[in-house]
């Protein structure tokens, strides 16, 4: 610093300046509001039943750090490769990128990242052993998710299942063309490597009692899913060529090729109906889907319906079965009645009403029922049975001390993703229980389990974004095997993204509510009060930030919040 002490005007500079930095002026004292870095909940994650931290794994992917992204997605979710293939991805309905070129293909990204990495690279850190033991009943998605999370928290976990191999409905109910078995096997093997022990061919209530499990283990989780099938309730359905869809699918998927009639009616409009019809098509049977409402009301994932139609599967809508037509001991058709849609029922869908005199026969020689699955609770003790579900409170705790529940048998949401989510949440409660901590009033939200600071009470929708920074960019196409080729066998229909495509797609992500170090805040700060940390993120120089809020305004993704300064 030069001491300026001019004697004449000649020595006075033309204008005021200081060769000191402006830091001498503590502009921070002016502020009554100040910015804070505060990640918020992106609309996609808000809707994810499994609680995936989507913006974060896309951020890591966009950076090209595929392994770290793959590790991140496996924090708490053991089945990303599976979910990416089978989830109806409600996240994409909410994606703020939607109006700017189409939603991010989040399911394709989850699938891609789920397929990345070798087992040893992906093994997460386990908490120190607690010495506590948990029995999980049911090796489906809920049970696997709970077991994985409990094992990572240091507990010893055994998963009992009455099937010879773990996976539950993923193995018995989802065809290989949607979920190749090597994908499922790889994910289950990873869970095993985390210390989870799978015990096959063991049915609770037959091979072991629940009481016995309660004695041998510190906690028990009941996650047995829906495996029962509803009857059609029409005359003739006890004929040998009227099949239970869930059972028939299980046999076909296990590799059996039973002698089946050449043309079969598949009754129902859900995913099981689609899976049965498409699987039948692949083993040379001609299916015809019979559904009592219209296409719009079908509970099946819309893309599954599209794919089925592309495979040439016939569907008749607004048609309900009335009687199996049997002539000479053989089925010759399914007598149906036409329906029309009446007033909405309790599900919000319009109730089908029979049209009088519209009886007709759909010519088929076999019938498969796929009108919804239910729980089979007979082998559980009385206090656990509550209608179609296992009795439980908001913490997934059943009336029996130390017994918890998760998955379809608890909530009946009917998707693999929801099952994974409830498994994670129940695991968090069981962990607290095993550690002797006070149980929360409610199981934590699935997004709470991320392990990064996110403000969960604020969901970032498109209005919160600074759209000046987001240009339109089109969603990439998703490649499928040609329908004529794919119906020949059970090869996977949808092709994975290449790494290049995945990184490109991740870069389309707006990173709603999620700081991705774009540096806008730093460049815009008029007081140079924002400094990049050596690690992730920024520090705000409180002495000089004068609370102008420009950084908050210019943040493209609402990852900064202006808060009042307390004085």
């Amino acid at each position: 610093m030069v001491e300026i002490n001019p004697r004449t005007l000649d020595d006075v500079p033309a204008t005021s300046y200081s060769d000191h930095a402006t830091t001498a002026i503590k502009t921070g004292t002016w502020k009554y509001v100040q910015p804070v870095y505060e990640d918020k909940l992106p609309a996609c994650s808000h809707r994810c039943p499994a609680g995936n931290d989507i913006s974060r794994f896309l951020y890591l992917t966009a950076k090209g750090d595929l392994l770290e992204a793959a590790r991140w997605i496996r924090r708490g979710n053991p089945l990303p490769a599976t979910l990416g293939r089978v989830c109806p991805h409600p996240c994409e309905d909410e994606c703020n990128r939607g109006p700017l070129g189409g939603a991010i293909a989040i399911h394709m990204m989850e699938r891609f990242l789920g397929d990345q990495g070798a087992a040893e690279e992906l093994l997460p850190e386990r908490a120190p052993a607690t010495g506590k033991r948990v029995a999980v009943v049911g090796a489906g998605p809920a049970g696997i998710a709970a077991a994985y999370n409990l094992a990572l928290r240091g507990h010893e976990v055994e998963v009992l299942d009455d099937k010879p191999e773990p996976g539950g409905f993923l193995r018995t109910g989802i065809p290989q063309y949607r979920l190749p078995r090597e994908v499922l096997d790889r994910e289950i093997a990873l869970v095993e490597r985390c210390g989870v022990r799978f015990v096959p061919d063991t049915r609770v209530g037959r091979d072991v009692s629940l009481d016995e499990l309660r004695e041998r283990f510190d906690a028990v989780l009941v996650a047995i899913g829906f495996h029962g099938s509803r009857p059609l309730g029409v005359p003739g359905e006890d004929h040998e060529h009227v099949y239970n869809g869930v059972r028939l699918l299980e046999r076909i998927l296990a590799g059996e090729r039973p002698e089946l009639p050449p043309r079969m009616a598949v009754v129902g409009g859900g995913n099981t109906a689609m899976d049965v019809a498409r699987s039948l098509r692949r083993i040379g049977v001609e299916p015809v889907v019979v559904y009592r409402r219209s296409r719009m009301e079908m509970p099946a994932i819309p893309t599954e319906v599209d794919e089925a139609l592309a495979e040439g599967i016939e569907m008749v809508f607004l048609t309900a079965p009335k009687r199996v037509v049997i002539e000479g001991g053989r089925i010759t058709g399914l007598e149906c009645v036409k329906m029309r849609l009446g007033e909405p029922d309790e599900s919000g869908r319009r109730r089908p009403v029979p049209v009088e005199g519209s009886e007709h026969v759909v010519p088929v020689s076999g019938i498969v029922t796929a009108i919804g699955e239910t729980a089979e609770l007979d082998m559980l003790p009385e206090p656990l049975r509550d209608g179609w579900r296992v009795a439980h409170d908001a913490r997934f705790a059943t009336p029996l001390e130390g017994v918890f529940t998760a998955g379809d048998v608890a909530t009946g949401e009917g998707t693999v993703t929801a099952a994974v989510g409830t498994g994670r949440r129940a695991a968090a409660v069981i962990d607290a229980f095993l550690r002797g901590e006070a149980l929360p009033e409610e199981a934590p939200r699935v997004q709470v389990l991320w392990g990064r600071q996110v403000r969960l009470d604020t969901v970032v929708h498109v209005e919160q974004l600074n759209l000046a920074y987001h240009k339109e960019a089109p969603r990439p196409g998703i490649e499928e095997l040609d329908p004529a080729v794919r119906v020949r066998d059970f090869s996977e229909v949808v092709r994975s993204f290449t790494a290049e495509r995945a990184i490109e797609e991740a870069r389309r992500c707006l990173e709603c509510g999620t700081c991705n170090e774009c540096l806008n805040c730093l460049w815009f700060c008029p007081d140079v009060a924002i400094h990049k940390r050596s690690g992730f993120g920024f520090d705000i120089d409180e002495e000089h930030c004068k609370g102008c809020g420009i950084c908050v305004e210019e943040c493209p993704r609402d990852a900064l919040t202006l808060v009042e300064v307390e004085r």
Partner: protein, 397 residues
Amino acid sequence: MRKVIKGNGAVAHGVRLARAQVISAYPITPQTSIIEELASMVAEGELDARFIKVESEHSAMAGCIAASSAGARAFTATSAQGLALMHELIHWAAGARLPIVLANVNRAMAPGWSIWTDQNDSLSQRDTGWMQVYCESSQEVVDSVIQAFKVSERVLLPTIVVLDAFFLSHTYEDVEIPEQELVDGFLPPLELPQKLDLEHPAALGNLVFPDRYMEFRRKMELAQQHALGVWEEVGREWGELTGRPYGLLEEYRTDGAELVLVCAATAASTARVVVDRMRDAGIPVGLVRLRVFRPFPADAFRAVLGGRRKVLVLDRNCSFGHHGIFHQEIKSALFELPAAEQPEIRGVIAGLGGRDITPEDIEDMLTRAWEGRLEEATTWWDVLPAEDPVRAASVRS
């Protein structure tokens, strides 16, 4: 090269020849075609400059201040409401001693909404520390823009080059456009003594306590006074290069004139015709055209007007509450003359909001001045009479 161009085009050519490096501007009628032409020159590669599109005139000037602080030759153009919106930063630019050049197309201030010419917009910036030059022709516009950069960069004060809306901005005339080589020889690249430097960070325009503030203002005033000589010197030098010399003001047929009309801008062209006509009729009238208004050439006015019988000042502006602005200033300059040399001085306010000032108007006002029939110190010309002054002054009848 001779070309038939508009006054606005003349501004653009002047800026191009001066090799402005940053143009930061916002469009406003009647200025728009200036920056359109400049934008096109930048786009076509005829001018190697950054053209910054901004969302307001305030930002336009902020852009110029930033560019100039970093040592770049900066230019902007505006009119009326745009110039008024810049006002805060107009002060800043001068106080920061930045040699920015601004072309202002004189347009009347609203309301009532007007796009036509008068001088109240530029004269409202009188006390900001900027220099001001009023141009009569497109030729003078080209020449003055180039000179303005030179003078500004010598004295470290910004300049407003002023031209009349439509009468000059949008009329075509024959203009000699100087060669680039000539201008390059006249106007060297900008080298500021003090500018932003990433290697040596400094804070500009920081807080100054009462024990120093006045010194900075005194230096600004000294720079303005110094600039009078610089404008004369630069105008002479330009004359030597081009055959078109410029001074602080311009005299026309003042020899032997007992009544001198003072006016500025395009009205002076009209006045020349009238002066010729009246001289031929034997009336001893002359014309002084005000060119450089800030710094105010008080000595030059005293020299040319001292000892005349009468002076009539034609203002296309008004300082509401006290005369036209040129009238005020000239009167105050002449007050320093010995009593015997002080002429009788009258003012006329005419042509506000773009109303025509015709040769007949000027002849009529000169005749009345000569015959002593301008009773008031200031006469509003060609305006409806007020029967009951109180009622006439009220908002509504």
